[in-house]
Symmetry: C2
Subunit: 522 residues, 2 copies
């Protein structure tokens, strides 16, 4: 792909900036060929060219990141930091602002492991596989928590508020202590790390005074070059309780029941209640089932469910910890479900000393990295892709059922196959829906934008906000956060301008535009 340029910058100016970047990282790590640029596109995007980078620069250390930011300030070149660039469904490696230089941190792969406390101090290039391998290699008594597709960065995932399946699955909450390069190039450490040489940097989260870790999450206020991540001590036992729900309407009581368990702490991981397509789209393709456009008819859905022996919804609960405690909790959980359904839960038991060789669909529950769910991008055939639609709901069955019905109808209206799940937080639900598509199907692609906007509009009518969104829709979603004329966004931008007067860092991320580019807000 030929070079795109950011607004107001000439090719000659960009060229001078790239030469200065090369002074910092060496010629080999300024990546500016057509092939290089193509590598950083979002291949899941409806319009890949809309987010084309001009180049990428890949530093090896925080000092180089500092220097890159200083160069970017000098040349007024916008940068788009990525950890490993695997934020698929939300933008992959591509910058929001066309022509930005991707700041690729994937070479920064240092792992410092505090085995006594179960804390890993990681650079952003460390992937879930890297951390898992490190733990296995050194026989450390800790488990990782991994997202469904685990080839991304541990830090990057936490910084976009990604989730996993163990009790450590709310990844952003397990961050403790960051090292951040501010837009000025200044290096700061958060929390106790603000004291040099502090032994509690990655052990106590708050420090003295205001605490800034969530300031650097889903934002464009700094480049995180290291962060502490807490890991779950390897449990003595893991108990699985799985249930298939026969009817779509069973979602209501199941959500109410699990919401109670989450609230009272009986259940400490965040189970995801997923629809029948979740497994089917990974293990088969659509044409094996049906060859017409439009949403799948009910008899095809029934056939899919029969083949995989799954419910309309599947629920997987997991308990981690001491065997006696897990058994007691499992007993209480089973008794509560027994009041709602005659169907027994499938119970699986693992304990220390037993081999750990889970099926791919079970690996993430044991914190073992997997990528097989990514296969769902192939559901429709052609060049596959997907887009995430993820509003946050109150944790109750009525809200979940109504949201499901609304969303299901929209999928059918736009001729798409419903793919939804309800991740049960402590007092809320993140309703993650995937919009699967085939980029070679022009008709299908022509519907995606309208479909997504209809979904966001439906949520906004209910006053539900998205927890995360694709770079195409960050302004749309940020705009729905409208209290007092978008007061929080205005506050974000006041701070943005104070920290980044030249507007060089990730302009537009999460709807936050620096003064220099504020006119670009959609």
């Amino acid at each position: 792909m030929k070079q795109a340029l950011p607004p107001g910058l000439s090719a000659a100016q960009m060229d001078r900036a790239l030469k200065d970047f090369a002074q910092v990282v060496g010629n080999d790590w300024v990546l500016a060929t057509d092939l290089d640029r193509d590598t950083y596109l979002d291949h899941f995007a409806v319009d890949e060219a809309a987010h084309a980078p001009s180049a990428a620069v890949a530093p090896l250390a925080a000092e180089q990141v500092q220097e890159i930011l200083r160069v970017a300030n000098r040349h007024k070149v916008p940068l788009w930091p990525i950890s490993r660039g695997k934020n698929f469904g939300y933008g992959g490696a591509a910058p929001l602002l066309k022509g930005s230089v991707v700041l690729d941190l994937s070479r920064m792969k240092k792992i410092e492991f505090d085995a006594e406390n179960g804390v890993a101090l990681l650079e952003p290039g460390v992937g879930f596989y890297d951390l898992y391998d490190h733990i296995q290699q050194h026989k450390l008594p800790y488990w990782t928590s991994v997202p469904g597709n685990s080839w991304g960065s541990v830090i990057g995932n936490a910084l976009d508020r990604g989730v996993g399946y163990t009790t450590y699955g709310q990844h952003t909450e397990k961050l403790c202590g960051m090292e951040v390069v501010l837009p000025s190039g200044e290096l700061v450490r958060t929390g106790m790390g603000a004291m040099s040489g502090s032994p509690t940097w990655n052990l106590y989260r708050y420090g003295f005074g205001p605490s800034w870790e969530q300031m650097f999450v889903q934002s464009n206020f700094g480049v995180v070059t290291r962060a502490g991540v807490w890991l779950m001590p390897a449990p003595e036992s893991m108990i699985g309780l799985d249930l298939e729900l026969e009817n779509a309407d069973d979602l209501g009581w199941a959500v109410d029941l699990i919401a109670g368990m989450r609230r009272d702490g009986l259940l400490q991981q965040s189970p995801s209640i997923g629809s029948w397509l979740r497994g089917a789209a990974v293990l088969t393709t659509r044409k094996e089932w049906y060859d017409k456009p439009g949403a799948l008819p009910d008899d095809v859905i029934a056939a899919i469910r029969k083949r995989f022996n799954i419910g309309w919804w599947s629920i997987s609960l997991r308990l981690y910890g001491y065997e006696a405690v897990n058994e007691a909790a499992a007993g209480v959980i089973q008794a509560q479900f027994a009041k709602q359904t005659k169907q027994p839960m499938t119970v699986t038991r693992w304990k220390q000393g037993m081999p750990m060789n889970p099926a791919p669909g079970q690996a993430a529950f044991a914190g073992i990295p997997v990528t097989f769910p990514l296969a769902n991008a192939a559901w429709h055939g052609g060049r596959g892709g997907h887009l995430g639609y993820s509003p946050v709901l109150p944790a109750n069955g009525r809200a979940a059922m109504e949201q499901f019905r609304r969303t299901y109808d929209r999928y059918r209206e736009f001729g798409m196959d419903y793919h939804g799940s309800f991740a049960m937080g402590e007092r809320s639900i993140v309703n993650v829906n995937q919009v699967l598509f085939n980029k070679d199907d022009r008709d299908m692609m022509s519907r995606v934008n309208g479909f997504f906007r209809a979904l966001v509009n439906d949520a906004t009518q209910q006053r539900y906000g998205e927890y995360r969104t694709h770079i195409d829709y960050m302004d749309l979603v940020a705009g729905t956060y409208d209290f007092n004329h978008n007061a929080l966004r205005r506050t974000n931008e006041t701070i943005k301008d104070a920290l980044d007067p030249n507007g060089i860092l990730a302009p537009g991320k999460s709807g936050i535009w620096p003064k220099r580019y504020r006119n670009l807000r959609k």
Copy 2:
């Protein structure tokens, strides 16, 4: 006390400002008599006059707070917000900057209770007693978490990172969704509250983009006028496991053991391991035991311990939740302790349906507000007071023992009675030490400042930072956070200047000075 004025403001200017405040809240709620001013002094402070306010203004609603901030900007009058002003040991109701007007929020006492989700949306004037009474009166199935002295504000305590004793004891972590008046007078809501009418404002913590709740904790960036607080569902059962440790050195293994339980989630509240003076100073006074100055000799310590039948250290662990799960966890905990000591733990069991009438020393474990620990201020007789010294340590026995030895020796060197506890967090310890004194004892009072500075210096040598400190020492403590030439403080002040260009809000809080007063940093 006669009126103190802030730097650079004349009595006439202040007078005009107070008249404008009265336009907002009415004459009755601008409090500027000598008696009024005396009310807002920190009566525990070594030098009360150093933090004398000029007046107080007490609004009833967020709109009045907004208007007060606009008036303060016009007249360049510094404000010091307090919730209920009970931050004793850290400054009480008094402003850091002499002559500030206290912004007293204690009239704002609205409680909105979401009984389905167990969330209270509170104004800052709501005290722990108010919330507890509300819950009892409406028979709501939730427990409060209270600090040892519970007459303060629920929100105020969380905003200073105060703690309690149940699994919801890390109060700042249970905040979810804030309404904040920025220094400009602008009203913002954090998290999902940034969407108007959001039903998940107080249910999901992060919202979209950077999350700001910890920005308003221990800071001077805004006045929190409402916040959501999550409450623990009333447990089916509570089990107590208490142990008295015979020797000072037992602290080491006990900390290691409990640190492991906290890390692996076996224990989900934060037990505080406290020294023998904790109970004795509440229930008796020093002169009943000893009439000489200097630290208490060992035989007196032995006599105190004998009378109260307590160890050198006392440990109280508590389990909350389902009875079967608690019993299983209690079994595992007892088995782990049995490997370290022959002494059995004292086990107490409560479950739903049993009366709840705990002894005062046990009430806080059940989330029942208490104030009796405050009696320790009378230990030395005269006008009593205390000062908190609270460094954060790694969660291991060696660090705890060394810190204890160092601190104990300092107490003896300065002729003070050791009063320490170790609050066991998930991966760190907050080592809360109280310096008890008699303000009428001039000799004793002359030693306090040197003693406190020696303690902070000792911690800093180990690179341990305080998690909270008295307004007298905020610059001292903030200065110890020295990474990259106090980079975090400089960042705080960049943001401070952007949000509060006139420097009106709580100048000096947590060592953050606005440009206007930055020369006042000690």
